[in-house]
């Protein structure tokens, strides 16, 4: 059952940050698809809630003049999947959005909630990692912008300071323009499932050579992560099956997978090696490169 004593519904960010400053115990609720599950199961026994659903401004998705993409934290996955700016500029995030839950969940679940929940399995996270996304966090007093990688501290733990609200996810033009990408969610079901592994690969190619490769992984460690070794190896290499095989092997090095009843470490690592190559293969095509067999 939902043990809620107080519930606030501010309509502006200023009201919200003021309420947070005044009541430090308030738990932010956006779509509620993580919060309410935790309350139902008793993981959160009691909570006073601050809903941000009425702050319409937070739903905005826009492309600024300089090419910077800004995604409001309250944008739902349905909205992201249908948004023309996302479709045109970072279609890989659309793929990630569509891999998430089912239609009903996507209608309410927000990208901000997905990130602030801190799960390594969050379907948007690996892609946002690959895109070098930055997060804008606002308090009553001011704001800070940090790389998404710094935001994740551990399983279910994020660097959200008391009084802070995530307002925007920002992606710089140099991080997405001319890149092609692909997201693979590997899970037992095709919908309504948690990823056994999430792989988001993006790359930029010129004359058959990788100018840049970035691979974000979910569920390969306690937080989403990037495959640094594989990425630095890839830079400047010819796009070929051998390069890909090597990238696959190196990708495993960045992982901190463990055995649980859901999957063994060995199997997860095997999947990392295989799926990072498969994701990259499609990314290559989407980046205008030649298809590899």
């Amino acid at each position: 059952m939902y043990n809620v004593d107080q519930y606030f519904e501010p309509e502006t960010i200023d009201e919200a940050t003021a309420l947070l400053a005044e009541h430090p115990n308030l738990l932010i609720i956006a779509g509620g698809t993580d919060v309410l599950i935790k309350m139902h199961s008793g993981k959160i026994a009691q909570a006073d809630l601050l809903s941000i659903r009425k702050i319409k401004f937070l739903e905005t998705i826009q492309k600024r003049q300089d090419g910077t993409l800004s995604i409001g934290s309250l944008a739902t996955f349905t909205q992201i999947a249908n948004d023309p700016i996302i479709k045109e500029n970072i279609p890989v995030l659309k793929e990630a959005a569509l891999s998430m839950g089912g239609p009903q969940i996507r209608n309410v679940a927000t990208i901000g909630g997905n990130i602030c929940n801190g799960a390594t399995s969050a379907d948007s996270a690996s892609t946002l990692f690959a895109l070098n996304a930055k997060l804008k966090l606002q308090t009553q007093g001011g704001e800070r912008v940090i790389p998404i990688e710094d935001f994740y501290l551990g399983p279910g733990k994020v660097d959200l300071k008391p009084g802070e609200i995530l307002t925007e996810i920002v992606i710089s033009p140099e991080d997405y323009q001319d890149y092609g990408g692909h997201y693979i969610k590997f899970s037992m079901r095709k919908a309504m499932d948690i990823a056994t592994l999430g792989v988001s690969a993006i790359c930029r190619i010129k004359n058959g050579v990788f100018e840049d490769v970035r691979i974000g992984l979910g569920v390969a460690g306690p937080t989403p992560l990037r495959c640094q070794e594989a990425e630095s190896f890839a830079k400047g290499k010819t796009v070929s099956a051998q390069t890909l095989a090597e990238i696959g092997k190196l990708a495993v090095k960045s992982t901190k997978a463990r055995t649980s009843w859901r999957a063994s470490k060995e199997y997860r690592e095997h999947l990392v090696e295989e799926l990072s190559q498969r994701a990259l293969k499609v990314a290559i095509k989407n980046a205008g490169g030649e298809s590899l067999a």
Partner: protein, 763 residues
């Protein structure tokens, strides 16, 4: 007999009510000031309550009652939805009480609270102090069978519920005659029904001091009896009402909530109390499907004839007997009408473990044995270098077979035709050719599996079914049955049967969907694929009686002999010409208002079926296996059934769709997982328990081979459970075909497939 309504795609009688939300389920009924009942569950798989202190819980405002094992009757009772037997030896094992001092699985019911609302009830649960003495849990059947294993039920000498089996012929002798002996072992997992509507009931004491229980149950009449037994009160003091229900699949063929619910309302002076299980509770604290381990030793001749089989089985029953050994015996019985063996020895043992209790689930033990047997058949065919279909064909029994143990006779059998049809539908020969010598990452393969099944439980169980029909003033009728509509469509086919016999349109048959033990005719309920067959005959008999009474009444009115008359399209007609004599409504009005002869026409009939028709069928499946990731995808699947005459093709297809999707989950993804040391459930929710979604379900091909069984009311045989039987082995055999890897365990999850492929050096 020519039929007009039977065999047609008649719309479900409850379709509109259900899709518009007008159909009322248990939770839709509101009693004023309904209280909430919640259950305190053991966190330990095996433990004894040393001390329990409920004072803090009782003191919480809004708490109306707190009950422990000390506050409920100490009567031991059995929960299985079996008809009562006058023979004490034939009854189910009575091994539980309403609440328990000894926890036998994680989730066992120690205490219960009644409060004004959910939240207060939950808070109260947390305020109950329990001191447990934790005992060593027994989590596998092997451990349970060890000498000196801790006893789960100390009133018995060991953890064996039963090891009763049988032998037909002499297997040892027959093995000597065999050219080859093949041995295999197989294992299935614990799965759960996952019906949409969780277990829910509410109870109150009415003005006559009787306990009224509204419950989502498949078995209202049995439920009433079991509540009486559990509480030690006369059965007539209990009234059970079953409204619309959101699925059961056998899990509501067990009495899980109602005795406690009755105790809770009594504890608060008869005020209404509702128990509404969460999914997490429902998955562990109702029933599951038994996990089985099978060993097969089979003797075969050079020309591919089966000679003998010795089957050893261990059935993991969990903490309470529930349906117990009946499941193993059902498995050992229902496969027999399919293949010819000179000798069969069946050695099952059903054991307690400290896991959730297993009970009835769609096809009652048969999916397990058929997974094993049909996988075994495939392995044998391959070792003999024989076409697996040809191998099966050579050994099919068919019409005329009389079961040596129960006397059931196969009077209709379309298995050969089913196989031929399935083979054609999936394009077997062409694809087999195409998929030879694959080496890529994604490989395809074809598999098939056959089954046989029964229609009801005769002669093991009593097959009694009641039907009552009343002719209304306008010529329409009310039909009441004791059998329960649980989504399978029985109300609709009964309406078709009545319409057929009476010569009236289906919409003139008003089916009373609710069962109420005070009002409905007696029927043991929805299970064993019995309703269209067993209850259908009761309905037919009642309709025939109504028709006879109508025509006799017309005879009295007109002097036209009843034999010369018939009813067509709600008119009384001359049989020879079809000429209308008078509308049925005119007769009906006379039966109510004729000042001399008025006598409303009714029938109240019962059918005690002492026959049992065997149904047959086959699954053909095509899979694509991703060698690297271990993922198996079912690309095409066809189920072809001989269920006799199909009463309503649309509903029949729906049954098959649901059953096949259940079979796909069984094969590939569903299993309940428990911590190996503590027995704590790991995935009792629908995120972690991988029930396939519609996205994971391919288009399911359905076909019927319509035979006519002389014992069915319209030539029909069972169809409710059969669709869930053969998909899993067919898929397993298709994976073998695609990869050369022979799986002996389901589900074939990607993790397990990966491990097997590594063993086979495919990755």
């Amino acid at each position: 007999m020519t039929v007009n309504v039977v065999g047609k795609r008649v719309k479900r009688v409850d379709a509109v009510a259900k899709v518009t939300g007008k159909a009322k389920y248990t939770d839709d009924f509101m009693e004023r000031d309904m209280l909430v009942g919640k259950i305190l569950r053991s966190p330990y798989a095996h433990a004894i309550v040393k001390k329990i202190d409920v004072s803090k819980a009782k003191a919480l405002p809004g708490v109306e009652a707190v009950l422990t094992y000390k506050d409920v009757p100490d009567n031991k009772y059995a929960t299985a939805g079996h008809p009562y037997s006058l023979d004490p030896k034939h009854r189910d094992r009575e091994d539980r009480t309403i609440l328990t001092k000894k926890a036998r699985f994680v989730g066992d019911e120690i205490a219960a609270v009644v409060a004004t609302d959910d939240l207060t009830a939950e808070k109260a649960l947390k305020l109950i102090d329990v001191e447990y003495e934790v005992l060593e849990p027994v989590l596998t059947p092997e451990d349970a069978l060890k000498e000196n294993a801790p006893l789960i039920h100390e009133e018995y000498d060991n953890n064996i519920i039963s090891d009763f089996g049988y032998q037909i012929g002499d297997v040892e002798e027959s093995f000597k005659e065999s050219d080859y002996i093949f041995e295999d072992e197989f294992e299935t997992s614990i799965v759960q029904h996952c019906h949409l509507e969780n277990h829910i009931s509410y109870a109150y004491v009415d003005a006559d001091d009787r306990i009224v229980i509204v419950s989502s149950t498949q078995i209202p009449h049995i439920c009433r009896r079991i509540v009486g037994q559990a509480l030690g009160i006369p059965w007539g003091r209990i009234r059970v009402i079953k409204p619309y229900i959101g699925g059961g699949f056998g899990n509501k063929q067990d009495v899980c909530l109602e005795p406690l619910n009755a105790a809770l309302t009594l504890a608060v002076g008869g005020r209404p109390v509702k128990i509404d299980l969460s999914r997490e509770e429902c998955m562990i604290a109702t029933r599951t499907r038994h996990a089985f381990k099978y060993k097969f030793k089979t003797g075969v001749s050079k020309d591919g004839k089966l000679i003998a089989t010795h089957i050893t089985a261990i059935s993991n029953n969990g903490a309470y007997a529930s349906h117990g050994h009946s499941i193993a015996m059902s498995a050992g019985t229902k496969f027999r009408p399919l293949y010819s063996f000179k000798s069969i020895k069946f050695d099952p043992v059903t054991v307690y473990t400290n896991l959730p209790a297993a009970g009835a689930m769609r096809a009652y033990g048969v999916p397990q044995i058929k997974f094993a047997l049909e996988s075994h058949m495939e392995n044998i065919a391959r070792k003999l270098n024989m076409d697996p279909i040809e191998f099966r064909r050579r050994n099919l029994l068919g019409e005329g077979y009389v079961d040596p143990l129960n006397g059931n006779k196969v009077l209709s059998c379309g298995i050969h035709e089913c196989i031929a049809k399935g083979k054609e539908l999936i394009n077997w020969d062409e694809k087999k050719e195409k998929y030879k010598n694959q080496t890529g990452i994604k490989r395809r393969g074809l598999g098939m599996a056959c089954f046989s099944y029964a229609s009801g439980t005769h002669p093991v169980g009593l097959e009694l079914a009641g039907a009552r029909i009343v002719l209304n003033q306008d010529g329409s009728v009310q039909l009441q049955i004791g059998a329960t509509e649980i989504g399978q469509g029985s109300d609709t086919v009964f309406a078709q049967m009545v319409a057929e016999v009476l010569g009236i349109p289906v919409d003139m048959v008003h089916v009373v969907s609710t069962q109420d033990t005070d009002i409905s005719p007696f029927d043991t309920g929805a299970y064993a694929s019995r309703q269209t067959y067993v209850t259908g005959m009761a309905v037919k008999k009642a309709a025939l009686e109504i028709k006879e009474k109508i025509l006799n009444f017309v005879w009295g009115m007109t002097d036209i002999p009843a034999e010369a008359l018939d009813i067509e399209d709600a008119n009384i007609v001359y049989k020879h010409s079809g000429e209308v004599v008078m509308p049925l409504s005119k007769v009906a009005m006379q039966t109510y208002y004729d000042t001399v002869f008025a006598k409303p026409i009714t029938s109240d009939t019962s059918n005690n079926a002492r026959v049992n028709a065997m149904s047959f069928g086959v699954t053909f499946a095509e899979v694509e296996v991703d060698i690297k990731t271990g993922k198996i995808e079912v690309v095409e699947i066809f189920n072809v059934h001989d269920s006799g005459k199909i009463i309503n093709p649309q509903l029949a297809e729906g049954q098959v769709h649901g059953g096949v999707s259940m079979g796909i989950g069984y094969a590939l993804s569903e299993e309940m997982l428990f911590d190996e040391k503590t027995g704590k459930p790991l995935n009792n929710n629908l995120l972690d328990y991988k029930l396939p979604t519609i996205m994971d379900t391919p288009d399911i091909g359905v076909a019927f081979v319509e035979t006519h069984d002389p014992t069915g009311p319209f030539g029909n045989k069972s169809l409710g459970e059969p669709p869930a039987i053969s998909p899993a082995p067919a898929i397993r055999n298709a994976v073998l075909d695609a990869t050369g890897v022979a799986f002996d365990r389901i589900p074939m999850t990607p993790q397990r497939v990966f491990e097997k492929f590594k063993e086979a050096k495919l990755v």
